[in-house]
């Protein structure tokens, strides 16, 4: 499915709530040019009291609610919208990435109908999936690495 309208809605809501988050995972990889698919959007953010308030505001903006499905094992915040099945996962720590600042410094800014969205570099997404070492990521990693190689070839 063409996710343009969904991404535009998410980017607009993030901008409105002034929540700074970087898109990672397969959605980020797809926007970076990798032929992969996904059901949800993963973001890295800074876990601060102000940002947690913004996250709640974002949930209201999207008619969803914030859940903590793996509390206390994980610090994942899941924003779920029942009516559309939309799911946004917010993480303050991800494997293979030192800090939010370092991820942000390498991220690309993409604009959807005037709403900006930060997308992690493909190199960071590959590093994070490789460090996580999950079985389900292995097939996607081959495709992501091939995309990264192709991007490097085109740059050279």
């Amino acid at each position: 499915m063409n996710g343009e309208a969904v991404i535009e809605r998410v980017a607009a809501a993030l901008n409105k709530c002034r929540l700074e988050a970087v898109l990672i995972g397969n959605a980020g990889a797809a926007l970076q040019g990798a032929p992969v698919t996904t059901l949800d959007f993963d973001f890295m953010f800074r876990k601060t009291p102000a940002n947690l308030r913004k996250l709640k505001r974002l949930a209201r903006e999207l008619n969803g609610c914030v859940l903590r499905p793996y509390y206390p094992v994980s610090s994942l915040y899941r924003l779920a919208v029942d009516e559309s099945g939309l799911q946004l996962d917010f993480m303050s720590r991800i494997h293979g990435v030192r800090s939010f600042e370092s991820l942000r410094s390498r991220a690309s800014e993409v604009t959807f109908w005037g709403h900006r969205l930060l997308v992690a570099s493909l190199q960071d997404i590959v590093a994070s999936k490789r460090a996580a070492g999950r079985e389900r990521d292995k097939a996607a990693l081959v495709i992501l690495q091939k995309t990264l190689d192709e991007k490097r070839k085109q740059k050279a």
């Binding site: 499915m1 996710g3 926007l31 970076q32 040019g33 032929p35 099945g85 993409v110 995309t147």
Partner: protein, 52 residues
């Protein structure tokens, strides 16, 4: 022996073709601006599973 070698050759040709098709797909996507690479979202189905 002959059929095993033929099978190996067929599999090698298939792998080569799969790699070529994947590279083509990546190049097509990279040729688009980032905000047009949006055909990746799967939708949850009511009875489980998902579809593009």
């Amino acid at each position: 022996m002959k059929s095993a070698s033929r099978r190996r050759k067929a599999l090698a040709a298939l792998k080569k073709e799969t790699d070529r098709a994947l590279t083509e797909q990546i190049r097509r996507l990279l040729a688009l601006p980032m905000n047009k690479r949006t055909h990746f979202l799967r939708v949850r189905l009511p009875n489980g599973g998902s579809t593009l």
